[in-house]
Subunit: 312 residues, 4 copies
């Protein structure tokens, strides 16, 4: 059996196994647009270096990518200001829940990493830097469409509006950072952009395509277009590995062994450097706020394909 055929078999098997599991976690319920999603959904899409795509489940159903967008805003912000970004945000795991404010008090408003909420808000603030929110939102959306090679990607405005209406904790984080000068734009502007990029809706097929530059030294191997330098791609992967799953990052590294970023919509994007870009979606979450079956599916995938970055 060819490598591609083997991969397709593995992906199909995993999709079937996940469809049958009854332990599906709990769907995020803080806004109705997430709370009403059917926990029965499952999708897994893997794109390899040659551009072959193995897809299982609801691969073409769009979902709210939520915090997965933070990988792309980080990429965009690094492209805009380079290492100056690290004046606004750190590179260490947080040891706390995704929306903790305790660490901000101890470290004078500088969030620990770009993937907790506070850190992603600080990154968004850098992208905004003096522009109108609408322009920044447009810039981020164009970047997502470019990476996914799909101009049909949109922002779910209902999700964005709900996030804004209920986002008191994020508003607290942003104001807190503002009090230390870490957030520089008007808080409402920065949060407006943040809530919108978290509300981008994508399918697993789109997401797996969008992540390919991280798997192949910063370039999309099919188009040859360079997104970032090889070093920057490695570093973004390192950040995903250490910080991509909030206070479940150690567990994800231990079990899955790939850099990845989860979102509260139940999606996870994972990267097998040199081998594959992967997207999985299963709406139910575990206690740390990461997709329950998504993690289990990725664990099965890396084991069967021998893709762990920590050894065969």
């Amino acid at each position: 059996m060819s490598h591609t055929a083997h991969l397709e078999t593995v992906v199909r098997e995993i999709a079937e196994e996940m469809a049958q599991r009854t332990d599906r976690g709990e769907v995020a319920s803080y806004i109705p647009e997430l709370g009403n999603v059917d926990p029965g959904h499952f999708a897994l899409v893997v794109t390899d270096a040659e551009g072959n795509v193995a897809a299982g489940g609801d691969a073409d159903v769009p979902f709210s990518i939520q915090s997965i967008s933070k990988v792309f805003t980080l990429t965009l912000a690094l492209g805009m200001v380079g290492d100056r970004l690290w004046r606004h945000v750190g590179r260490e795991p947080s040891g706390n829940a995704f929306n903790s404010i305790v660490q901000l008090e101890r470290e004078r408003g500088v969030p620990r990493n770009p993937f907790i909420n506070a850190g992603a808000i600080a990154v968004t603030d850098v992208i905004l830097s003096g522009h109108q929110p609408r322009e920044a939102i447009g810039e981020i959306l164009r970047f997502m469409r470019f990476l996914a090679g799909d101009p049909s990607i949109v922002i779910d405005e209902k999700v964005a509006a709900s996030e804004k209406r209920t986002g008191f904790r994020n508003t607290a984080l942003a104001n807190y950072m503002k009090s230390f000068g870490v957030v520089e734009n008007p808080v409402d502007f920065t949060l407006g952009v943040y809530f919108h990029h978290c509300a981008i809706a994508m399918t697993c097929r789109q997401l797996a395509t969008a992540g390919r530059f991280l798997a192949y030294s910063g370039k999309n191997p099919s188009t040859g277009l360079s997104v970032v330098s090889a070093e920057r791609a490695r570093r973004i992967n390192a950040l995903m590995l250490t910080c991509g799953h909030y206070d479940g990052s150690g567990e994800f590294a231990y079990r899955v062994g790939l850099p990845g970023k989860s979102g509260v919509g139940g999606g996870i994007m994972a990267i097998a450097p040199g081998k594959a870009s992967i997207a999985v979606w299963a709406p139910g979450l575990d206690k740390a706020g990461n997709s329950h079956l998504g993690r289990i599916a990725l664990e099965a995938l890396t084991k069967r394909m021998g893709w762990s970055i920590f050894g065969v």
Copy 2:
């Protein structure tokens, strides 16, 4: 130039570059045995899959491996009790300094991971489990000699005695865990074993050999002897990546891109899965308590050899 010759050149160049640097960090000073070490030392040893060894600098000068021993006690404890170990210690980065006690109060005495002090004490307590301290110390030492293939490795009793004499913070951590029942043996016994395994003295050559099982699916490829399963080797590597450098773990992953474990004696063991086992020694430390030049040397090595686990 052959791969081996290339590696030897790179190792020699890095050793020369490091010898010339004047930014050498600060030698640990809490005990005289560490405080009196010459910050001018530097050693780098790389062992590849074929057993070729490239060595630069003071490759045969023994130093106090300190917290690097925690990788080996973790391996030993997993071999003794398997996944039951995780009742005593977690698998998440701590987000705090190596000797913080704050997290223990919040999480009822269970340390976040096996590589912070509290976690390593909990692991040592599992190894001890009812035996005499002398027996447990002997067991750990035999394991180190077996892994390094060198029966001459010894414990520096002066270091162990100094650690014990000044180890009030570790005594606090152990008693604190004892108050929650996480430490089960008499605190003095557990700490006695802990202080002794931290006082093992090894050379970079010995250390690079000892780490080979982690690079090659749990086996020493030269002897063929299996130490752990391939899955366990991957998982130990994952823990080193996320937690191996205290509150500098994110930074090490970001810059070096290899699983590694540092010690306050200035040593770092790093693993390039499938490619190499590496030991570096430079006594001066950075603010997070990790070898300053050791990290810089490893960053140069992975960049020049293309060994980052996060992509080429």
Copy 3:
């Protein structure tokens, strides 16, 4: 010498001593309206049970009462909802700085006491409860005028506007409590009222009069008008004693021995139960954010008059 003459002498002496001191602390500088106040000001006014007033220094110069207003909003809120208030705020010293957010995370958004910022915002939210901000502000101002017997008291709108423009930390606190449902009104409404009552400008003479009900079992002894029950007056005094000076409350109790409440404008209102209502003003603050000379003056006053509640 009569008691009244003695008191007048003591007040005059203290005012003279304070005028000569060169250690005056640092004026709060986060808004220009406070930062521009002359640190040379000093005022001390004592009103006894008979209504005699002993005044020294700038007794008729108005200043921003800031957090002293929290005693009066607490009184007002208790009058409106009684002990139901304690669902929104606790009664324990905080052990943290006045604007800490750490405790809120640990205790699910319920502030420790009504005198730290978060607690006072929660109290203000109770007063607002469904009304328009303008109505609530009017209610608070009318209450202050009634207590001080002086309809000329006003809010310094410039101070209120500056507080609002720079109040990111308070906005963070309010949104954080809102995320737990502890703040019930729109955050902007609650903060609008909060910033306004902190911006009330009063003289020491007015303030000493306004506090009289706390010294005399809940009644103004001159007018005979009852403000609160005797038990409630005692309890408000108890809260001032344990929590009235942020993380300097223990120190104030230890040195002065009276219930009191400080404000960042440099004012302190203190109560000698059964004996006197006291107001002092010296704009320079100590490290805990309390009036430096104000505390020293009160220490001298209680010592010379034998007024400590902890014994003669």
Copy 4:
């Protein structure tokens, strides 16, 4: 009815009311000597300025005074080193549980006040200062006998031995402070003295007598013997008010309105300055670790006698 007759009636009534209550809290259970105490006990003894004693319930049954001893060791240490004591311990409420270690990390090993465990250990260390533990224990015991005017007071050695055997958390605190140099003697010595003074057994009658110097300007009014200056007596009372009931100090001030110190044996000593020294004992504790019925009895007593320091 004379004042004395009124007091006797009130004390008898309260003792009767408490005997009938079924809500008695939970007896401390961490050592058998406390866990086996009958929660049905109740005692209340009040000594007034003239030396009249009003006693109700089990006034002559000895109990373990535990943390109440911290008031007396504080008094002794202040007598030995004066204000230099405050280099070792602070004067602020802690905002944390009685045995919290979190604050020690933040404030470099200096405990917040002399009445939390860490603070009392630091005070004990000052008393010990170079002497043998046996001498320091003897000194403290002699001081208690002198204050109570009763040479029969002893230490319950079984309690002391149990405390030592199970005192891992206190051992953690002491070692932690030792690591910062705040504890100067060998940890075992300091803890030995600490465990012994907490194990002093006294009756309410003895305790009420021992506290009299705090009610009357530092002197025992019956013997005329001076223990401390009037100022020091006031300051110790202030510390009891703000810190005497752990994280229930604010609540005790709010409800009872007297300086007081509780112990986990169910005792509370309270001081009505100028009016009375009070001891109460009811073994069941509330959630903050203070005597449940003891606090309720004192609230009734101060209300009926009009003794609150916060007003009549």
